[in-house]
């Protein structure tokens, strides 16, 4: 192939105009590192590029949404103000935001971890529901035991249920070649059927009339709030899970093997890496986190399993994982952002007289902008490695 030796920059003829404004503005800032024999600053510029792209995408999404609001004859400024106040402006609203972010941290990991192996798993919704249900079912026989034991049993059962469900999608992919995206989506619907069956049948508390629910675990066994706040420990579990996942992926040999597998399956096979085990393992882990989210919702918020568990946490997790480019640490700010937008929804509805779904429109804008921002990566020469020689 005669073009193989041409530098990468030559192969990509990016139009110089299509850039995030923030990136273009950065051109003049860095001192002349280009002359150095080895491009020392390149890793930093690459990190800056990876960070700027989603920020630019968020700005673009808000700008587009502002146009949408203007078309509806609403004020974008008022909207931003309300989002700020409803999500972050006061201690109360901030707690509300973090409360919503807690399960999202875990459901986003359910997407992000398999994604590092090149698997697009979108079935977190059922893993949350089944995790919550399994947590209750496992707690009922041991309700008399010490609280810590009950919580551990619940967490184990919830994580196991979620892991099993998403792991099944991973197993189908690794061993049977079934597309994991379709499998996990279909399994999400399949999983809700036994959930509803048990919640409305075998495990139903006859006292729950309007909203069929399982028997409760009782107030005494609810997870206590963190001291001085209304926040439940699920937030800490979510944060810990994100940090541990990041350590696993970027600092351990197993995580490295997973990244190789996700980056190039053929190369991973040639190196003799256990790609099937890695795929199934990532799905088990991600599903386990989603199941844990269900357990926490039960043990900290609802006290029982019912349709409240099917609140779209799994779906929002997909959005957050993509927003954070499947980087577990980046999930934290993104989950808080999305949690905040959700928390502001009620206020927006009341003050601006807009339907509930308005927030969904904004989420949709953000998602599209983030996906589109991928095409901007690698376009601007400033972010590219400098050649030591031409």
């Amino acid at each position: 192939m005669s073009g193989a030796d041409a530098p990468g920059a030559a192969a990509r003829e990016g139009p110089g105009g299509a850039l995030p404004a923030a990136a273009a503005a950065g051109i003049g800032i860095l001192p002349g590192a280009a002359a150095a024999p080895a491009d020392r600053w390149y890793p930093w510029r690459r990190a800056a590029e990876a960070g700027l792209a989603p920020i630019a995408a968020l700005l673009a999404a808000f700008a587009a949404f502002a146009v949408f609001l203007l078309l509806l004859d609403k004020s974008p400024a008022e909207f931003l103000d309300l989002v700020w106040r409803g999500a972050f402006g006061s201690w109360f609203s901030l707690q509300n935001t973090l409360q919503r972010a807690a399960p999202l941290l875990l459901t986003a990991l359910c997407v992000a971890i398999p994604a590092r192996l090149g698997l697009v798993i979108i079935g977190g919704e059922a893993a949350v529901a089944l995790g919550g249900l399994a947590a209750v079912a496992a707690a009922l026989p041991v309700l008399g035991g010490p609280a810590l034991l009950v919580w551990l049993v619940m967490a184990a059962a919830g994580a196991a249920a979620g892991a099993l469900w998403i792991g099944l999608a991973g197993w189908l992919r690794a061993r049977r070649g079934v597309n994991e995206t379709i499998a996990s989506l279909v399994l999400a619907y399949v999983g809700l059927a036994p959930f509803n069956h048990l919640v409305e049948g075998l495990l139903r508390d006859p006292a729950s009339l309007n909203k069929p629910s399982t028997f409760g675990i009782g107030d005494a066994l609810m997870l206590p709030a963190l001291p001085g706040t209304d926040l439940h420990p699920g937030l800490l579990a979510g944060l810990a899970a994100c940090v541990l996942s990041w350590v696993l992926i970027s600092r351990t040999a197993t995580g490295f093997a997973a990244r190789v597998t996700g980056g190039n399956l053929r190369a991973a096979q040639l190196q003799g890496l256990p790609v099937q085990k890695l795929m199934i393992g990532a799905c088990l882990l991600g599903g386990g986190f989603a199941g844990l989210a269900g357990m926490i919702e039960v043990a900290a918020v609802h006290g029982r399993a019912n349709a409240s568990l099917i609140a779209g946490y799994g779906w929002s997790g997909i959005l957050i994982a993509f927003l954070s480019r499947h980087n577990p640490l980046a999930i934290i700010p993104m989950a808080v952002l999305l949690g905040g937008i959700g928390a502001a929804g009620g206020l927006l509805q009341r003050r601006m007289d807009m339907p509930d779904a308005t927030v969904m429109v904004l989420q949709g804008f953000i998602f599209v902008a983030i996906l589109a921002s991928d095409t901007l990566l690698g376009r601007h020469p400033w972010f590219q490695p400098r050649r030591a020689e031409s």
């Binding site: 193989a4 190789v260 040639l270 003799g272 590219q384 490695p385």
Partner: protein, 504 residues
């Protein structure tokens, strides 16, 4: 038949960012001539023809067609002028017939095709051509040489008057290559087309070129009528050094006991291709066994089986007498290394850094060879630095994604990674595909050095010269079987070529 045109490029400049791909390159191609464009990879050959065909816009300079200045800013402009390109890789639809491929390639295909009428026109067209291809044959069923002919016929059918052929013989057998180039030269000399051929192979130049232009690092370094230029002249123009690199030295004789043995290995065929059926194959220490064959005759499958990417459906693969499945533990224990073809696609993770890619083999082992849990990032950086230095990898930084490196540097990285440490069995597939003269010599020397150090080497290559140069013993594969075996030194190229084609 069409009539050929002359083309002239004057002072073409093309820059990509800070990189100058073409620096005031001029080129004059006479009407009805066969003009060879020579140069290493990255010399600018492809960039030049892409400018000519409207895929790139030059930053300066102009093109003349038949002596008149023309504006070529889009591929459609080149089409209108009758400039066409035959790509290195086939651009035909394998599941369609030759006739369908020809008709569909036209810019003005009607919404409803009157096939009866098209057939009459195609038959008439085919009769006018100096060579024929069966119109009703499915392209997927044609041999590589026939496909290449179909590509050329397609260009003639589109009434192109100048053809650019990008390394047209890289996928052909020696016989097919000679025939094909002969046909193109015949067409050119009959005045039907003008041909620009991009090539690496000096033998082809000596035999078929009317005129030669040599590029090096984006500049024209020489050229002229082919009969006046000696291979040494052209090599000097291409690589800027007076002589061609010498062949690597072969030291010592193979040991008797085989290190790699295949016994009755079979795989299930797919997509109409036969699976493997290898009765027995052995490679001994300090021996290079070359596997020749036209691509698609099971060589790729063989490499996949040995690399653990595909499980055989029957038979045994033995390394040092024990069963081998390509798993990581076994590969490490037996010091088996694989250099896959297209290393970026098969052996690297393009988005991961050079450092990380250089550690794909050793990231999960500590210095003592035991499995480790944490990544040793300091150790990885140190190893990468050592390999980059030892193999003279040119990278702007060890932290750039390996995908941005040039083909030669990617291959150096993979070589560095796989040849580091003890190597007892080395599986190599098309190691020099797409590399320039200097890189090719370096890669071959490394493989020979591994052999001389006692490794058993299985070399699968579609480059016949490479096999002749390196192999101690040559096997020919056809239809998934080993059909011929001959000692490497003094092998009869014609006989091997006939076996490659299955005509024996």
């Amino acid at each position: 038949m069409t009539t050929a045109i002359s083309v002239e490029a004057i002072g073409i400049d093309k820059r990509f960012g800070g990189f100058t791909a073409l620096d005031a390159v001029s080129l004059k191609v006479a009407k009805g001539s066969m003009h060879f464009l020579l140069g290493e990879n990255g010399a600018g050959k492809s960039t030049l023809v892409k400018c000519l065909l409207g895929y790139y816009r030059p930053d300066a300079g102009s093109f003349l067609v038949d002596g008149r200045e023309v504006e070529i800013s889009r591929p459609a402009d080149a089409d209108a002028l009758g400039l066409g390109m035959v790509y290195q890789h086939f651009t035909l639809v394998p599941a369609m017939t030759v006739a369908e491929n020809l008709v569909m390639s036209r810019a003005d295909v009607p919404a409803v095709i009157n096939w009866a009428q098209e057939r009459v026109a195609l038959d008439a067209f085919m009769r006018r051509m100096p060579f024929q291809v069966p119109l009703d044959a499915e392209v997927g069923s044609l041999a590589a040489g026939e496909r290449q002919k179909t590509e050329i016929l397609k260009q003639l059918y589109l009434e192109r008057r100048l053809l650019v052929l990008d390394e047209p013989t890289s996928v052909l057998t020696p016989q097919e290559a000679e025939e094909m180039l002969g046909l193109v030269r015949g067409l050119a000399h009959s005045g039907a087309i003008t041909a620009i051929v991009i090539s690496h192979k000096l033998k082809e130049v000596a035999k078929f070129a009317d005129e030669v232009t040599v590029l090096r690092r984006g500049r024209r370094t020489g050229g002229g009528p082919a009969p006046v230029l000696t291979p040494a002249d052209m090599t000097a123009m291409m690589i800027g050094e007076p002589q061609a690199p010498s062949e690597p030295e072969r030291l010592g004789a193979p040991e008797p006991a085989p290190r790699l043995e295949l016994r009755g290995v079979t795989t299930v065929g797919d997509q109409g291709r036969a699976g493997l059926e290898i009765g027995s194959l052995a490679v001994r220490p300090r021996e290079i066994v070359g596997i020749a064959g036209v691509s698609g005759n099971g060589q790729a499958t063989l490499v996949e089986v040995l690399g653990g990417q595909r499980a055989p459906s029957g038979g045994q693969v033995l390394v040092e007498g024990a069963p081998y499945d390509g798993s990581r533990d076994l590969a490490q224990a037996r010091a088996v290394r694989v250099l896959p073809e297209e290393p970026l696609r098969n052996g690297c993770v393009p988005r991961m850094s050079v450092t990380e890619n250089l550690n794909l083999r050793g990231f999960d082992r500590d210095a003592g060879g035991a499995r480790c849990f944490w990544l040793d990032r300091g150790g990885m950086v140190a190893r990468a630095r050592r390999l980059i230095g030892g193999y003279r990898v040119r990278a702007p930084s060890a932290e750039v994604p390996i995908g941005v490196l040039s083909g030669g540097n990617v291959q150096r990285c993979v070589l560095a990674r796989e040849l580091d440490g003890e190597v007892r069995l080395l599986i190599v597939a098309n190691p020099c595909f797409g590399l320039d003269v200097k890189a090719v010599a370096e890669v071959r020397a490394r493989i020979m050095a591994a052999r001389n150090a006692g490794a058993a080497v299985l070399l699968v290559s579609e480059d016949f010269d490479e096999i002749l140069e390196l192999a101690d013993r040559i096997l020919v594969m056809h239809g998934g079987r080993v059909v011929h075996e001959t000692p490497g030194p003094g092998a009869d190229a014609q006989s091997i070529g006939a076996h490659m084609l299955g005509s024996h």
